[in-house]
């Protein structure tokens, strides 16, 4: 039965090439944009290497020192994280990483190389799951003693050393020289917590000033045992904010900060939204984005249906039940959207590759993944059914005599 429906649908597509083309074009373009956007979003917020445990990671980004007249608003300070934020209940491990990479220049054989330098503690490497191409991460001990060691990415190895192993080799970054202990694959820019070219211990910072800072230039990473512990951890963290003695009691009377997931942070800073609403807003935007293609598709479908009204009239006159015709129409639509979905899967891969190759996002490497594909498929079916329902309803109400005359008002 289904087979014959599909066969008829196929014949209809071939007969009405123009309508088939514009329907397919509309479906594909819409899905390409949606699938590409959700892939980028997924690569930014999803739990992917090296941030495989992002789903159970809380971070402290912004911290504020406030008083009546003054306010210092910046990132978390190393001193606060190190002395006051350890050992929160429900936290499996805590790590510290500089809030953003800093650019450092090196000169190798008269070539200038600019690298993105990220400073981390030893536990960072136990929270993140890097695949090591060679060597191993530096340790808590390396950080504490300020050993000049570095983990570099594959591109940096290529730039400094060329072919061959980098282990034990020295690289000069700015005025400091580091010994390479590990090489990892390139980490793309959109991995906010781990992106960098070179990672070195925080302990290698020349001055010791940062060790006592309550607010500063760092991000605290709190790996929870499970997402269910988030509330407990947040409450405990709020307690800890009251512990430190503030440096200038006349100016400042309180310390503020909040544990956030990466999604909450991005919603908050990039779009200025209340923290919890990111996914809601994303869904809303996507729905808004889909309105135009949907209306367009409905219009095309109504036309497609009207064009066949005399055919429908004949079929009805010879005894076809309304629902068979509706089924036929809906199947045609679903088939069309599935074809569109396949085209879009290829198209979005192409779009993502173009973005990756444009160099706007260093080390961008989007890969097709199952959740996005399933999500796209669900979207496709929703699209197909949604845009087919109104025309099909209209068709089912078509009076055979009117239909034979070739029109409805």
């Amino acid at each position: 039965m289904l087979k014959s429906y599909i066969k008829i649908a196929w014949k209809v597509f071939l007969r009405r090439k123009f309508f088939t083309f514009i329907s397919l074009f509309a479906i594909s373009v819409t899905l390409i944009v949606l699938m590409a956007a959700s892939t980028i979003l997924d690569h930014t917020l999803g739990s992917m290497p090296p941030e495989t445990r992002l789903y159970r990671t809380l971070c402290v980004f912004f911290m504020k020192m406030e008083g009546e007249r003054a306010e210092i608003s910046t990132f978390a300070g190393y001193g606060f994280l190190d002395r006051y934020a350890r050992g929160l209940p429900g936290v499996e491990r805590m790590g510290i990483v500089s809030q953003a990479p800093e650019a450092v220049d090196s000169y190798v054989e008269n070539r200038k190389i600019t690298s993105q330098l990220r400073r981390t503690d030893g536990d960072f490497w136990k929270i993140m799951e890097f695949t090591f191409l060679e060597g191993a991460p530096f340790t808590v001990q390396d950080d504490r003693d300020g050993h000049p060691v570095a983990v570099i990415n594959a591109t940096t190895r290529e730039r400094f050393i060329g072919g061959g192993s980098a282990l034990g080799r020295s690289i000069k970054l700015g005025e400091q020289t580091f010994r390479v202990v590990g090489v990892v694959p390139d980490v793309p820019l959109y991995r906010v917590l781990s992106y960098g070219d070179v990672w070195v211990p925080i302990g290698t910072i020349p001055t010791a000033h940062y060790r006592t800072e309550l607010v500063g230039d760092f991000i605290g990473l709190f790996l929870a045992r499970s997402e269910r512990d988030f509330a407990t951890i947040r409450a405990a963290f709020a307690e800890r904010l009251r512990q430190p003695e503030l440096p200038d009691p006349e100016e400042f009377d309180r310390l503020e900060g909040e544990l956030q997931t990466l999604a909450e942070y991005i919603a908050n800073t990039e779009i200025g939204l209340p923290p919890k609403s990111l996914y809601l807003v994303v869904v809303l935007l996507m729905v808004l984005f889909m309105i135009l293609p949907a209306v367009n598709l409905i219009n095309i479908n109504v036309s497609r249906m009207l064009e066949r009204s005399s055919e429908i009239g004949v079929r009805k006159a010879f005894g076809a039940a309304s629902w068979t015709l509706v089924t036929q129409f809906v199947i045609e639509n679903v088939l069309l959207t599935i074809i569109g979905g396949v085209v879009a899967a290829g198209g979005s891969a192409l779009v993502l590759r173009t973005i990756a190759e444009s160099g706007l996002l260093p080390y961008a490497n989007f890969h097709f993944n199952v959740p996005v594909f399933l999500y796209g498929l669900a979207l496709t079916l929703f699209f197909g059914v949604f845009s087919g329902v109104y025309p099909a309803w209209k068709m089912s109400r078509l009076h055979p005599v009117q239909a034979l005359r070739g029109g409805v008002r």
Partner: protein, 394 residues
Amino acid sequence: MTRHLLKLVWNRKRSNLLIMVEILVSFLVLFPIVLLVAQGWSNYRRPLGFDVRDVWFVKMYSGQPTFAETEEETARRRELLRQLYPAAKESPAAAQASAALIFPFTDSTFSGLRGTNWIYATDTFKDVMGVTMASGRWFQEDDAQLAWRPIVINRHFARDRWGTDSPIGQKISPPDADPEMRVIGVVDDFRVKGDFSSSENIIFVPVNLNSGWAPELPDRLLLKVHPGTTASAEDALLRRLRAIAPSYTFEVKPLEAIRDEYIRMTAAPIIAAALVVGFLLLMVALGLNGVIWQSITRRTAEIGLRRAQGATVGHICVHLLGELVLMTGVSIVVGSAILVQVPVLDLLGSFPAGVYTASMLIATAGIFLLVVLSALYPSWLATRLRPVEALHYE
């Protein structure tokens, strides 16, 4: 004739409704992107107020945040700056140099007065950046002797604050200003945030490292290099600077490169959005083409009848396009009403009335063009039908 068309459109409102909704949504999608592009373009065309050619921008990092530093640390930083600045000035590549606290081509501002952006700069700044004076004068070395602090503002601020009155000699009193500040000069403009930004209120505050008159340390250096200087001179400059401050990290970049990067990064999302909107509208055009084609086929008999009754090909064309243009008009009126009512556009920032109106007109014209283009081919097909065939269609 217009009334006749109006009646037809109105009486067919149910089947026309979906088409009108589609045109309406297209307009709502097109307008914001046109607005963004128009705003960017109208700003881009205006002079930046400074010249990025042959200017190198040097950033210096002491390796620790400045806001929490002790007084000794600040003093040390000041002392280093006092040596770094002349070293840069006297480097072979530099024709002139200036030290400043400035964040060119970024959204960062540094300000001591609400609604203004402050740039701390040495007296050489004007020549390095090629700033043109509208009236008054720029800072001089011996301004340090004055009992008050001279400032230079841009024309936008002058007009904003004093209207048509001359701002020269006027005082401004920010909360922490000591001594008082007086305007000594007005520059044409200085859009420090970049080519796509609107004019903002700029105040230049002088710093003089030698006299100790430097309320904020100007820890960025601007070098006007000799024309034709290549990147190879960079290394020599860096070596010079590092010799003075070995613990510092320096970053040298031509201002032109910073500007190119800024233009690329600002334009990229807009271009991406415009591409997406372009594809959406192409899709709409194709869709409308199909819909109009179908509706014209369905009305072949009507077209034949009109021809029989003495309508010329021109009449039919005017008729079919007229109906669509009317529908588009209604959609756009509704769309404009929605845009005026709903403050969604505030999310995109504030726009000058001229840009807003121009965008409205461009978006309207764009939608009309879109509809007419998608109707042209089917309408032409319809008029090609000979009346006899049209009447016997069915």
